[in-house]
Amino acid sequence: MPKRTDIHTIMIIGSGPIVIGQGSEFDYSGVQACKVLRREGYRVVLVNSNPATIMTDPEFADATYVEPLTPEICERIIEQEKPDALLPTVGGQTALNLAKALAENGALERHHVELIGAARQSIDLAEDRQLFKDAMIEIGLSCPPSEVVSTVEGALQAAEQIGYPLLIRPSFTLGGSGGGIAFNEADLRLIAERGIKLSPVGQVLIEMSVLGWKEYELEVMRDASGNFVVVCSIENLDPMGVHTGDSITVAPAQTLTDKELQRLRNMAKSVLDRVGLATGGANVQFAINPDDGQVYVIEMNPRVSRSSALASKATGFPIAKIAALLAVGYRLDEIDNDITRVTPASFEPSLDYVVVKIPRWDFAKFPGADSTLGPQMKAIGEVMAIGRTFPEALQKGIRSLDIGISGFGSRLEDAPPEALRIPTAQRLFQVATALRQGMPAEDIIAITHFDPWFVRQMVDIAQVQSALLEGRVLDDLTAAEFLTLKRCGFSDAQIAAATGERELNVRERRKALGVVPSYYRVDTCAAEFEAHTPYLYSTYEPDDETQRTERPKVVILGGGPNRIGQGIEFDYCCVHACFALRDMGYETILVNCNPETVSTDYDTADRLYFEPLTAEDVLNIIDNERPDGVLVQFGGQTPLNIAGTLAEAGAPIWGTSVETIDLAEDRERFNALMRDLDIQQPAGATVISREEAVIAAQTIGYPVLVRPSYVLGGRGMAIVFDDDMLLAWCDQHIQWGGHPVLIDQFLDDAFEIDVDALGDGENVTIGGIMQHIEEAGVHSGDSACVLPPYKISYYHIEIVREYTERIGKALAVRGCFNIQFAIKDDVVYVLEVNPRASRTVPFVSKATGVPLARYAAQISAGKTLPEIGFLEEPRVDGFFVKEAVLPFQKFPGVDARLGPEMRSTGEVMGHASSFGHAFAKAEMAANSHLPQGGTVFISVNNYDKGAALKIARDLHQLGFVLLATAGTAQFFESVGLPVSVINKVSEGSPNVVDAIRAGDIDLIINTPRGGQAHYDGALIRGTAHLYGVPILTTLSAAQATVQGIRALRQKPLKVRSLQVHHAVD
């Protein structure tokens, strides 16, 4: 069937902000869909609230709406753009839910928009657990015994039927949000109540737990003629009980016979037939009893997913792209396989390598969070590694994680056998320890329920390590031994640690022995056909397949796994650098290990190396490709961390020099530079002991900001108010003797400003100046910010501009840099300079229409700002507000208070001609809808009470009912504001937490500050996040909220595409 000609304009919904369970993989799938549908001649209208995505760059769609993903806003866009069809299957659960809402409220019918890719009935069937289970039984498949309930009492009744332990899964939530395993009635009450609340339809599934069963997933595609292919089989190392997103997974499946695999294939096909997914991609998950092979169907997603992104990268089969083509009428056999150019898309990839995916968690950012892995996903990112064997892939995956672990067994996590039973982020390393300590493989298998095959492979790794590395001297290692180690995935760093050598010495020795990697191609077909796409991975076997060209070429280093503080923004920058250099005539070579990205699409760079971003792996690629330049400033901190080693080994680092990077990161040198430039910094000190810390803090004066040196995203950073807090913090975070601790004056109640700018070594041009809405003390990544600044005097802005230029020139930055300023009592302070692309580059580019990352790449390649023609700071029309999205809902028990340590996973943008509207949109996009009325609970510390008064008065005038605890209430009453009093939690029920639970509160203003007060509101904040009540923890955010609510009252929201916005400029 040829493509449809009866539709012309297709609307695509993106997945919104990056959250746990819905990451940057949907930027990858969305970009693929946008690209291919435009290539086919369709007009594409894109809606996504996330400005950090590639897909929302204006060149990827005909009309790009960075607007809140709500049914009302989408309908307004539909009215404006009049699409013929809506493709909801490439934007994750968010897009599917939104499409469902638009279908249910009649909007699609009203505006004659056809749902393509998945029918509404299919969405309902796949998403409603009871309907799905009934459908499975109807076609002769089994699901674990379960019951859907909508009350806690119902859950308890179901438990009596099914028996503990039980799995509780809320219907229609992301990444298993709100799910859990209940071992008893108390667990069940807690989890069921929370799950019912979190489910948009108020339902949870109470299901028999199949803890310990083998878990598999098939990624499948089907076209309108019923042609069906399995793109990839995936086997989870972690058995049932751990969310797939939190599981280490392996492709292809390793422990199934053909009969067993074909049975799953047949079942998956029946599931698709029954659910009625006519066109597109889907995944089906299965549980298999390892003792007798009994199969349960667990779930099916009628859309592309995190695992389909993984499967696409693992096989070279671009699922999202093909799904989009199928949705517009093509058949699988009408689509070519880009890699082989001779086979059609109607075939099943064959893998002659092993792919391992390992999740990356960030529990250190969430003290108090339960780090046990279960049915609710907690990972922030993931890495994928390709090796010819499982040991090679596993070890490459471990070192890709960028957590200071160079391979299996390189860091030992001591743990008693009982701890092995509990799935956590450490379990893989605990298994290494157990093996090292001589625990028999059988015991590990019995305790972890890992398949014996995987455990035995780990035993082999441990044996190779003890046989070849224990007590060895580097010079004694033979070429054959090196080869054995390398084929088993051992890194130079591991060998260096075992032999007590420097890593670069190991490298030299290895190369001298002729042990260097070959690069093999990911070709979808196990070498049966020639691969025309240079998508490469390293291994230590003969017959390299690089086919190096002699063109001028540049290596761009990606950011590695998403983590808090380093996410999709950096992938955005890498992709732009790629495009810029390609346009300049360079061959672009991208290195990255994150399967959730656009950068690792084999379409993005000319050549893709799916490899760890360690010095060893990157240097090997540099040896192999001999590039003219290497770009390290686009992938965040990860490539910067290895830049020094790369330079030492002779790599041609382009752009900002390693010397400048060091100057900006070395505190002493940087302080000296600021003194020379006559620029103020907060008073600070570097200390190496508890005693020094106390003296320094007292000298500077409390409150002070404390942090370990060399950290990303403010890890471990805190504001302390007195000696006791300081010492407690030191004892919790610091092992003296390692890196020193930095103590800085905390600029209480200051405004913070972020500047993104470009330098070419001689000139500096500012890209954008952003004002944080939260005051200083909240990490810049967690603070809402607005471009242009809305509350800062021209005088101060001029100083900021002048300082930016002075610093950029002094550092001789070539490319992007970012400076954080604080303004307090009329003084402008510099807090930090980052000589690399920053998190805010995509946001600034969206707001100004200026492609900063592209320009930075051009500068790196030798162009000057005058040559590029970028010499003036862009003028911004209207207001662009960026709001952070926080994962507190996933981490019950963690204090949901903003602070100096970054904890947001993603961001959204709202834009409008007034600040209030832009702020309201940003909040709406962050799923924190500003209430139009109702009850506001206000609880502020004494310091804030004065300023809170005005806010309370404004809200009262807007018709809100004021509610406060006794102290605050008394203060408001004293000036004549009507206010009701409610108990603090400590004063007993009914208290404010009860009121939140009961849904009696619509807005919360709670500002913790000062020593003791810091912890008082933790329960209020946690409950608010759990129940989705908007909560403001700073007064400046509260003021902005009042402006937003007032703006919404005055005028309804309007929508405008970026293309129209910038054309107007």
Binding site: S225, G226, N227, F228, V229, V230, S233, P252, A253, Q254, T255, L256, T257, D258, K259, L261, Q262, R263, R265, N266, P290, D291, D292, G293, R331, L332, D333, V342, T343, P344, S346, F347, E348, P349, S350, L351, D352, Y353, V354, R388, T389, F390, D451, P452, W453, R456, Q457, D460, Y520, C525, A526, A527, E528, F529, E530, E541, P542, D543, E545
Partner: protein, 381 residues
């Protein structure tokens, strides 16, 4: 233990031997199926071939009594990247190493299989010698042995794999893996020529209620017709189809008298009987992911393949039409001759290993067999 694979063009690939010791020769081929090594090992079509698996880890699920396609291992040698050091499967009863040793078949692990496969892809399949033990120390001698071994072209291997005596096959497949059929009693009889038949083909026939008599390849057409079958099945098998002249003759005599269904070698023999020609392919099709298009329905089947010869595209196939083609290289994958009531496919609808997309062909055969009169219009749906 030391092992070596030596190719007739002089290239050698070192490895670690497993299974039996010694030296063996065969045609070196590769298979891209990611599962199903046990079925591959026991498929008689691999007789006198050394099979390289492209999937790196092999042996993971051990060996079970159920997943065999015949009563012995047929491959001449087995080459893998990584032999599993452990078995993990609730159905397994033993490991691959011990099985091959018992069967007297040489295995080679730790081989650079991707480099090997790319070599075969570029140079075509070729003769090779596989050695485990002392003999592996003599690469030049092994290359020489490979060069002196027989060439597959023109080699009739059917006599080496066919059964000695006719027998009745009654076993059906395990309903765990295949759909169950409700069969009436008193079902038609078909005769299956065994030119190296896979058990799963027989099970697919009995699953659908047919009574099956398996006969050796040397049984003449008149002896077969004397059994009064309602249909004749031509099986898969090894070697050069053009060399199996007796089967081509038999088929010619059967055509028009009974419905005929051929698979793989059976398909080639049908084409030859219809006057067509066959030719050797550079490296053949061996794997479980080949896209075959049914030209009658337009549907794509993901199919299992194992063949090194193919029906020549422009060969004269009097009155027959091409029903299936391979979308990768447009080779002929299926034929039918409506008037003579015969049809065949080059690939393996019985799968084992491979996807089950093409089982409908057995249903069509059964349907045809159940219609006793040949003169009515015969059609493949």
């Amino acid at each position: 233990m030391q092992g070596l694979l030596a190719l007739e063009d002089g290239r050698t690939f070192p490895g670690t031997g497993f299974g039996a010791d010694g030296v063996q020769t065969g045609e070196l081929v590769f298979n891209t199926s990611m599962t199903g090594y046990q079925e591959i090992l026991t498929d008689p079509s691999y007789h006198r071939q050394i099979v390289t698996m492209t999937v790196p880890h092999v042996g993971n699920t051990g060996i079970n009594p159920e997943d065999v396609e015949s009563d012995r291992v047929w491959v001449a040698g087995f080459v893998v990247r990584s032999l599993s050091p452990v078995v993990s499967s609730w159905r397994s009863q033993r490991d691959l190493d011990g099985y091959l040793r018992e069967q007297g078949v040489i295995g080679l692990s730790d081989v650079a299989t991707r480099a090997l496969v790319r070599h075969i892809r570029e140079q075509g399949v070729m003769r090779a010698a596989i050695a485990h033990g002392e003999a592996a120390r003599d690469p030049a001698g092994l290359v020489d042995i490979a060069r002196k071994s027989p060439d597959m072209s023109g080699w009739n291997l059917v006599d080496e794999v066919t059964c000695d005596e006719p027998y009745h096959w009654t076993e059906t497949s395990d309903p765990a893996w295949y759909s169950r059929y409700d069969n009436e009693s008193d079902q038609p009889l078909i005769v299956a020529y065994d030119t190296g038949i896979k058990r799963n083909i027989l099970k697919m026939l009995t699953d659908r209620g047919l009574r099956v008599t398996v006969v050796p390849a040397h049984l003449s057409a008149s002896e077969v017709l004397a059994l009064n079958p309602s249909g004749v099945f031509l099986s898969n098998g090894p070697g050069d189809p053009a060399a199996v002249t007796s089967m081509i003759d038999n088929t010619r005599h059967l055509l028009g008298k009974v419905p005929v269904f051929g698979i793989c070698l059976g398909h080639q023999i049908l084409a030859l009987a219809l006057g067509g020609t066959t030719e050797k392919m550079r490296f053949g099709h061996r794997g479980g992911n080949q896209p075959v298009k049914n030209l009658l329905t337009g549907i794509i089947e993901i199919s299992a393949h194992n063949h090194g010869f193919t029906v020549t595209p422009d060969s004269e196939l009097s009155g027959a039409e091409v029903t299936h083609i391979n979308l990768n290289d447009n080779t002929i994958e299926g034929l039918r001759h409506t008037e003579l009531g015969a049809f065949s496919v080059q690939y393996h609808p019985e799968a084992s290993p491979g996807p089950h997309d093409s089982l409908y062909l057995f249903d069509e055969f059964v349907e045809r067999v159940k219609k006793t009169v040949l003169s009515t219009e015969y059609r493949v749906k």
